[in-house]
Symmetry: C2
């Protein structure tokens, strides 16, 4: 920067003012400085700026895994929403383990961002309670969190109920929940969605056999596929499956095929998340749309509020859930 200042015959402060588009610079001075910047190929050092000013212009998004489609879509949406505001998004992977999540969450790393969107799955209340970051944070996700955090989540129970009601409405009588979890030290995505499933069965007067809860640990396509194959081979009889995520539902589709069962004729299927790919499966996947645009808009609103006022009162926002009926269920007209 001092090279530029020297070549333009001004002080470094003036160069800084020009580059920051401050208004206290004469038009001719401004032009001269910009010319020299171009000529010398000067690029500002963002690290120095950050050290001095504290601003980075960068928002961090921390997700458990890059290769779960849900997080790829989330990152894409957030990135697009930030671009018009001149902010950059960078994404880090925490690896879904408590240990790696805690390390990604170390204040040292968080401080590199103006704000952080944290999609935590491995952290529990106690972990989150211990952390006192001075960077604005918005939690994205389903697990229980301390009150003081700003947070956006989906309508999990409601969505799961909608999906299960739809399956029952389409004639299902034995509805399994793939990826279900009836108890956990702290509530999380799977327990909430299992609750919704459970509520819908209760309302319909259907019993819920514990065998209908098929647990998963990674919620990957491969794991879901083999879990379903194994369950059917093991004698499980179902006429519908509520998969706790679309990713899991994709695995179920394959696993049911492996077991020689047709979807939706023999077994109906519904997922949760409405991934981009879900509309393009064959048959199309019936699923719950958690209103991604609102999720993203609200998360960024909460972040901006904190950016403006560090002491803003925490908000917990819940997005709506909407059923999207496609080919894996037989539709309300069916018996």
């Amino acid at each position: 920067m001092s090279d530029v200042a020297r070549a333009a015959g001004v002080s470094v402060m003036t160069v800084s003012n020009v580059l920051n588009e401050r208004t206290n610079v004469g038009a001719d001075t401004r032009l001269r400085v910009l010319e020299v910047v171009e000529e010398l190929g000067y690029e500002i050092n963002l690290t120095a700026r950050r050290l001095r000013s504290g601003r980075t212009g960068t928002i961090g998004l921390i997700v458990p895994q890059f290769d779960l489609h849900y997080y790829g879509e989330l990152a894409s949406r957030i990135s697009e929403a930030l671009a018009p505001e001149g902010m950059h998004l960078v994404v880090e992977q925490s690896g879904a383990s408590r240990e790696r999540e805690l390390s990604a969450l170390s204040l040292a790393r968080l401080q590199q961002y103006d704000g952080v969107l944290l999609s935590a799955v491995g952290l529990d209340m106690a972990d989150l309670d211990r952390i006192h970051p001075d960077v604005p944070i918005v939690l994205l996700g389903e697990q229980a969190v301390p009150e003081r955090y700003h947070r956006v989540r989906m309508g999990n129970v409601e969505g799961a109920r909608l999906a299960t009601e739809h399956l029952v409405g389409c004639g299902a009588r034995r509805v399994a929940v793939l990826g279900g979890k009836t108890s956990a030290p702290h509530p999380e995505m799977a327990t909430y969605r299992t609750d919704g499933w459970s509520q819908a069965l209760d309302q319909a007067g259907l019993p819920h056999d514990p065998a209908l809860v098929i647990p998963l640990t990674t919620y990957s396509i491969a794991e879901a596929r083999s879990a379903i194959s194994a369950a059917v081979d093991g004698g499980l009889e179902v006429d519908a499956i509520f998969a706790v995520t679309d990713e899991v539902a994709i695995g179920a589709l394959a696993g049911l095929h492996d077991a020689g069962l047709r979807v939706p004729e023999d077994v109906q299927l519904a997922g949760f998340d409405n991934l981009g790919i879900s509309a393009h499966l064959v048959p199309g996947l019936t699923t719950i749309d958690p209103d991604h645009p609102t999720l993203v808009t609200e998360a960024l609103r909460l972040l901006r509020r904190q950016l403006k006022d560090r002491t803003a009162d925490p908000e917990h926002v819940v997005s709506g859930a909407r059923l999207v009926a496609r080919g894996t269920t037989r539709g309300r007209s069916a018996p």
Copy 2:
């Protein structure tokens, strides 16, 4: 850090030495410093460290789009490979447009990383030629690049040829290439893969009707689906499709279903990339495996070489391509 130093009764330099695990600190001093660090909840300021030392411990990966599954899987693999070395990966989205890619590539942003893995699609030779970063860069991708860049890419032509040969070997006589491109100002993924398709048809003595090249612009599932539907409705007659990516093949699967065609009975299908999901589609997607582990290992090797020696001679590495036959093709035993 000076607070810690004061509380521990040492100099800031000693605190720095302890935190950097340098060996020139007495065991008792070390312990005392660590105690105080813990007690005060001190966390190092990475920005200041970076400004002074130039090291960041962070590698940047720049991809066109977060929500193409290929990039999610790539990011995940790289992240896992870097973790054991104590390096962090952060991912940025360039948005697939030249403009946004150039901005992501601004020296200012690149300098924030120790090294950069750049998966560029919007940049051409001229753009890349203009950029003279002083950060080690490895290009990941298929487009032509100036010699001075280190670069890893797939065996595109070979892979496309293998896929097309397999389709022909399974009895196909009219093989379309979905996402094909026969000419472009600069060669890129689609042109290379179209070349491979073309070579295989030549070798088999099959004509290549220009109508068999179905162009795409975004290579998204939705675009591929409607392109195939439209082509079939428009009278296109084919008995096989080579899709230039698995993502495109997934769209083709849906589009063929829309058109009332069965896979593989009426139309066989092969993709390219061997995504994680491809094995779990119904039917399983025949595809080309570009040897992801080697791709990642080699990219990181090239990056480490540059990290050690900025003047290391550039290398261009090409990974092998291997056919993975699944249910969307009829297998070699078929007529």
